[in-house]
Assembly symmetry: C2
Homo-oligomer: 878 residues x 2
């Protein structure tokens, strides 16, 4: 028969699946000999059974009863015993920390009798006993009985008026207990349960049920936590931080989670229970001041912190309580930290010999590195912070506040920097969001429209700054302290922290970027840490990293950032500007000769473009994609032409162009005449480009072009253009791989055939995502992605991170069947996912040879490629 | 060691893979004891070796030499022997008949010496001998030495002037031989090879090489014949139909291939060799007249025809030669026939006991049935045929000739029927093609732009009528005999036969359609045959057949045509007409209440629509797809609105609508806010539809609604809407399956998950094809499909027939993984492919439960479903 209950002495930190994170760490600390109150954990397995069957597994009640008896024996008191009660806390604790779930009920075991026993136990501290009792009813009522917590808060506020809660005396608290019991009766139709075991039983089932609370379900969907894990329940003997001034409760970090500096960091609150710290009822004191209040406990705590850090080999965060001078550990876990701290801590731990450099690389993430690469506000500058919202899209933006999309566009066109401020955004605001330097909203979370669209644009965004009252019609917002910001007033927003500042805050470039740019030697600790980790990641990674770069300038920057080649050089920009006219000639050509004339004029221009890029890449491979977009994108706008004609200012060519624009108009240009289709339908177009590449390569020593055909869906398409390209290369005496994008689902599904004609594949995951899901990014990101993220349909936009089940499956099919057909097939990715941490890991896992991304994301890709090589699947490290 | 050469006595008709169709049938006839000239076949395996290695396999020369010796021994003469030569023919013969390949070289063995021996052999017929010699040089020159055939034709024409070729005497023919030898020397720089064995060796290799002639490659691509089969070569002792009037050559059919009537059908040409019949140099006589010329041979032929038909159990076509009163069989095969004949022959053969009814069903095709369902021109009417082109898209169309797209649109808007006549069409002609009743071109084949687009539209088209001179600028065309047709003159075109008639030809409805409509009892033989075959197919088939029908009228027709339910009832038409205004209200709603008001107004209208359809279907299942297209499709046109506003005639609502139209505008509506996305983003929309369905079902006894959610890409989308729908159904006390379209690649790739929330899948292969290939039908069919078909990239448009390798693979994945997750998952298809013969077979093969198609295609689907159940993969029956 399954064992459903574990005493803290029976578990360890490796049993998170069974005991949850909290239970496993309590067991670990118990076994380290640290002062943890006695207690036991009910397993996630019991929860799963309860959720599936609707009742607790047989045997559980018996096991709990036995464990409780053992606990009572250890403590020398019985649960809720009238004259000398044992009290316990009941806490949820799943494998992954889940804010959507019930957290804690303290003081279980109190009722109208045992409250007197508790008073006696505490040496006649009646106030303490009644305070504990009212806390029980309040927490139990809210989390177990599902009563609106405001009802209790309101009753407490009424009673205390303008006093602090410590000012309430025992009589008042006794009166509050009666009020609370009345609330319970009113709201549930039943009395507050006086039986301590019944209290405990109900609390355990409430924890189980909280696994399926709506907010918990939503959180799991968004974080992609499996729905069937269940939660454990921890039952622990109560210790009291609210006995008096020799007691208290606090949190501690083994290092500064902000900077990574070693030292004592934390907060302490005298004469309080844990939830008081969270509620912020009174001000905490810095942890180091505890040394003066209670040196014995302080020294013991410092020793324990060292033990824990050496044991966990990482920054730990700790919850503790001091009960009349005796220190108790209530929780520990590996602590969260800022991006900068993560790098510093990782290298420090390596220097201390606690971890290897391999491990150090896995202790930081690409997302953290990316955060360090955004410009940020000058830390030393004077800043007037007026609000804090969600850090929805990182970066630092400064501009004049505007309150409508139209106004944002207007001012931006005048060359002014603006911040678009809205209660919340909707698709109508798109133009304004594009025009603005940053976006600030007072409503909505990280999946709101503003957040989703801003991240998609890479634009700074703070959302859900609820302290702000945005008065759109009056074109102003009001911040706490009656700070009024009207249209035109300058504000600064920090998308990395969520802070909002009044006035212009100076922006400083990222020191990390300066380091990557090679402008500086590693100076400060952070840059030194980044440098060491990047070097180690580069040594470890198996994936190559290339850049998406279309110009010599981008190519040079990419090289500085560590790119080993260009994975995507788009050629369409080479048809813009003054060269549009040649494209117009091409489209209007009515004879082979006219068409060839237009192509002949383009060829030397393209050739010189390629020469510049080959020179910048200095012998590294350059994958050049032949022209992809539909030709009508290069023609004048239909409205402009019509107006010109109506105004009588049109030339003959304009009139012809209008006809061509109408003929080439497409309902769905994404699914139209583009890519290889253009190459097949317009004779000589691809040949011209290949000739320009071949001639440029012939002139630049060491040039290594790779020719990439876009939008291939069938091997026959590739065969047709490949033949001509190979002939042109041979004539020029130039060696170049010829390969294809895999960006259409059918290409992935027939990769075995396509590999017969392709020396390399490069996954175009932008289009592949659009076509696999059947939505175009332009059209749908603003229209419904925020709905989808809120409803948990996506955990993350599939345009940010590769959708493994759909798009990823197509990639896996293509990799497997492509390599079967051609074992030396070279495989890469050049969609924007190539710079996304999770996607880089996926590319490593399915065995690609390289990823290619925008120059700025190259360090992220290098780091993640290193991490991927150094770890197995990270599904267990969330 | 492989055996590369088979004597005709060694093979049989089952060895087509090895001996090709012609060789296998020659062997079969030989073994039946029929009078086939002696000969042997070189296998396709030898050809494959030659093509792969560039040289004939070792041992082949030796085997050929031995077989030739054996042949010489049987015939008592040696190849090219000067005084009494054996002559042979060399013919290609692949597994599948391929017009792109070299066909035949006759008279091999002749040279300046043996021509005299042949004259002697023929009893001093010098003319015959020299004629045979010049034919050898001409055929050999053209097909083996690759010389332009016109050079020989031109020399012949010069010599004979206005005489028939039989008027040339032996001296003139001898002179022609010298001229021909001169041409060979001029064109190749070498003399015509005099060595008979060298002639044979070169001819064999030329046959091998012809496998990879450009036209052969193109033909294989278009017909999807594997490229690696290779061809066999047949070498046969010559018999001569050109010895004189006691000789001749002919073709015969064992039944009338036009009607299926039993009897003697064929043509005979006295004193001629086979190619003369094909070339049409002189007029043939009806085969039955042979009885008067040579009763002995005639009777023998009639007996052989009966033998062959009984042996092959099908209509056979035959090539034969009579040499001085002796009948020889040169070829037989199962003969082509018209659609009507196919049905009649199949049932006749069943009545004769030659085949079973199961086999009879497999002897006809859905395409043939479809041909019989088009209206056709009255057979009895007086018709003036003025030209014949390719039968590019079937049907019968009558209208005034017009020569430009603009004019077609103009006259059509006036309510006139027009036929668009062009040299060839291009994407600019699209509007005119839509406006016209039919399309006629003088250039291009079945893959030309006109043909591809017309088939896509289901519009009658005759293309490549090369006898017509189309003078677009002068708005007229000229037909043979100086018939001039000017704009406005009425013409009639038959897309089933390719014929073009002057004036209006009366159109009669299809008798087969009248029978399906139930208007008539089977009367004539054809309808009786169709009736019997359809009944048998219905008994045999495992696939259900449903209809795509949106109205009670369509539903009723579908029932009459044999639909077992509705597989796709679109609901978007229910938002058109006067109801558009309600959709406008829905889009403009700015509060929940306004939105609900608009939805409440739509609900009773939808309900009454559904009642009508449930009544028409009388207890058969009705799959209703919730609204799919983007809402902007229901709003007024942006240009119309702008004009109205500019003209000062706009209402407030118009102004609001313009804003909404702009906001809802999409770059790629196909990939936009539609399908389930609408249902998730617009609260209450799907609920309104489901409520209307539930209430309608509650009012119609026996109604069997099935609710289908479109455009699902992720199970989470389906779960979200499914929950609400299930609740509404339960409240109304109505039972209904809830399922989803599989029309987005990701849905197929995650079908295992989606099946957890779907009781049925219906494959939307139109969208699935668009997204798997990455092209939108609207945009690309006209723009480049004809290029693609010509280049062999498609064998057939993937919108006509399911692309098995890409789209089909997605379907197979979805079927397999969907059924694994839910064994009783109900599976259908509702894309237009559901009525395409090859696609129906594919649906049978992958195990769907039903196909759904337009009412008119239902009989085709029923027949093809029966055929699929009665046969294995048809890859061998091409």
């Amino acid at each position: 028969m399954a064992k459903y209950v574990y005493d803290f002495t029976e578990g360890n930190r490796n049993l998170k699946d069974l005991l949850g994170g909290k239970g496993a760490n309590l067991a670990e600390m118990t076994n380290l000999g640290l002062p943890v109150p006695h207690g036991f954990t009910i397993t996630t397995e019991a929860c799963r059974h309860y959720l599936a069957e609707g009742s607790v597994p047989s045997g559980l009640d018996q096991e709990v009863a036995e464990q409780l008896e053992a606990l009572e024996a250890k403590m020398g008191r019985k649960l809720g015993q009238a004259d000398d009660p044992l009290l316990v806390s009941v806490r949820s604790g799943a494998k992954f920390s889940m804010p959507g779930m019930m957290e804690t009920v303290l003081n279980i075991g109190l009722n109208d009798e045992s409250v007197h026993g508790l008073a006696k136990q505490s040496g006649g501290n009646d106030r303490f006993a009644w305070d504990s009792y009212r806390r029980l009813i309040q927490m139990f009522g809210k989390t177990v009985l599902d009563i609106d917590g405001d009802l209790f808060e309101h009753a407490l506020d009424e009673l205390k008026g303008r006093r602090q809660d410590t000012d309430l005396d025992s009589g008042e608290l006794q009166q509050l207990v009666e009020t609370y019991k009345g609330i319970v009766r009113d709201q549930t139709g039943k009395d507050f349960p006086a039986d301590p075991r019944e209290q405990m039983r109900l609390a355990v089932m409430a924890v189980f049920d909280s696994w399926n609370a709506p907010r918990a379900i939503l959180y799991r969907r968004q974080e992609r936590i499996p729905a069937d894990l269940g939660t454990a329940v921890n039952i622990m003997a109560m210790v009291f931080g609210n006995y008096g001034n020799d007691s208290g409760t606090g949190v501690a970090f083994t290092r500064d989670p902000g900077s990574g500096q070693q030292g004592i960091y934390g907060d302490y609150l005298q004469n309080a229970q844990g939830e008081d710290v969270v509620a912020g009822i009174r001000n905490t004191i810095p942890l180091e001041d505890l040394e003066h209040l209670d040196k014995h406990s302080y020294d013991e705590l410092v020793g324990i912190m060292e033990t824990l850090e050496n044991h966990y080999r990482d920054l730990c965060d700790i919850e503790f309580t001091i009960e009349r001078g005796k220190l108790w550990m209530l929780q520990t876990r590996v602590g969260k930290r800022t991006a900068g701290a993560a790098f510093c801590i990782a290298t420090q731990l390596a220097d201390q010999g606690l971890i290897t450099m391999d491990e150090a690389v896995t202790r930081v993430t690409g997302d953290q590195l990316a955060q360090l690469m955004f410009p940020r506000f000058d830390g030393g500058a004077r800043k007037k912070k007026i609000a804090k919202g969600m850090n929805a899209s990182p970066g630092a933006a400064v501009g004049k506040a505007v309150f409508s999309s139209e106004r944002a566009v207007e001012l931006a066109q005048q060359g002014q920097d603006v911040i678009l401020v809205r209660r919340e955004t909707n698709p109508d605001d798109l133009a304004g969001m594009i025009a603005a330097r940053g976006i600030l909203t007072s409503r909505g979370g990280k999946t709101s429209h503003a957040a989703v669209v801003a991240r998609g644009m890479g634009k700074t965004c703070v959302c859900g700054a609820e302290e702000l009252e945005v008065l759109t019609a009056e074109q102003r917002f009001v911040a706490p302290g009656d700070v009024v910001v009207s249209e035109g007033d300058v504000i600064s927003i920090d998308g990395t922290t969520g802070e909002v500042f009044l006035g212009e805050v100076p922006v400083v470039d990222s020191a990390v970027v300066e380091y990557f740019e090679g402008a500086t030697e590693p100076r400060d600790d952070l840059v030194k840490a980044v440098d060491r980790i990047m070097r180690h990641a580069d040594e470890a990674r198996r994936l190559g990293v290339r850049a998406n770069a279309d110009t010599p300038e981008d190519a040079a920057r990419a090289r500085r950032f560590g790119a080993q080649g260009i994975g995507l050089c788009r050629t369409e920009h080479m048809f813009l500007g003054e060269r549009r006219q040649l494209v117009e000639d091409l489209v209007l050509a009515s004879t082979d000769a006219e068409r060839q004339t237009a192509l002949d004029a383009l060829e030397p221009l393209q050739k010189s473009d390629f020469i510049g890029i080959f020179q910048a890449m200095d012998g590294a491979p350059v994958t050049i994609r032949l022209i992809d977009p539909p030709l009508h994108e290069f023609l004048p706008d239909i409205v402009d032409l019509s107006v010109k004609i109506a105004a009588g200012k049109a030339t003959d060519k304009d009139r012809k162009l209008l006809t061509a624009v109408k003929r080439l108009h497409e309902q769905n240009p994404m699914l139209g005449l583009r890519g290889v289709r253009l190459g097949l339908v317009i004779p000589g177009l691809f040949a011209m480009q290949v000739r320009a590449i071949a001639q440029a390569a012939a002139e630049v020593p060491g040039a290594r072009p790779e020719i990439m055909i876009p939008l291939v869906a069938a091997v026959q398409e590739l065969e047709s253009v490949r033949e001509e390209a190979a002939r042109i290369l041979a004539e020029a005496g130039v060696q170049a791989l010829i390969g294809t994008m895999i960006e259409v689902p059918r290409a992935a599904l027939t990769a075995g055939q396509i590999a017969e004609a392709a020396e390399f594949f490069s996954f175009g995951t932008n289009d592949l995502t659009q076509m696999a899901w059947g939505f175009s990014r332009d059209d749908v990101e603003a229209a419904f992605f925020s709905h989808y993220l809120d409803a948990g349909i996506f955990g993350v936009s599939p345009f940010e991170t590769i959708d493994r089940e759909g798009v990823g499956r197509l990639m896996e099919i293509a990799v497997r069947e492509g390599r079967e057909a051609r074992p030396d097939l070279h495989l890469g990715i050049c969609g924007e996912h190539g710079g996304d941490p999770d996607s880089v890991r996926f590319c490593h896992e399915i065995g690609l040879d390289y990823v290619s991304c925008s120059p700025f994301r190259i360090p992220v890709a290098r780091l993640e490629a290193g991490r991927a090589a150094l770890t197995q699947s990270d599904s267990d490290t969330r």
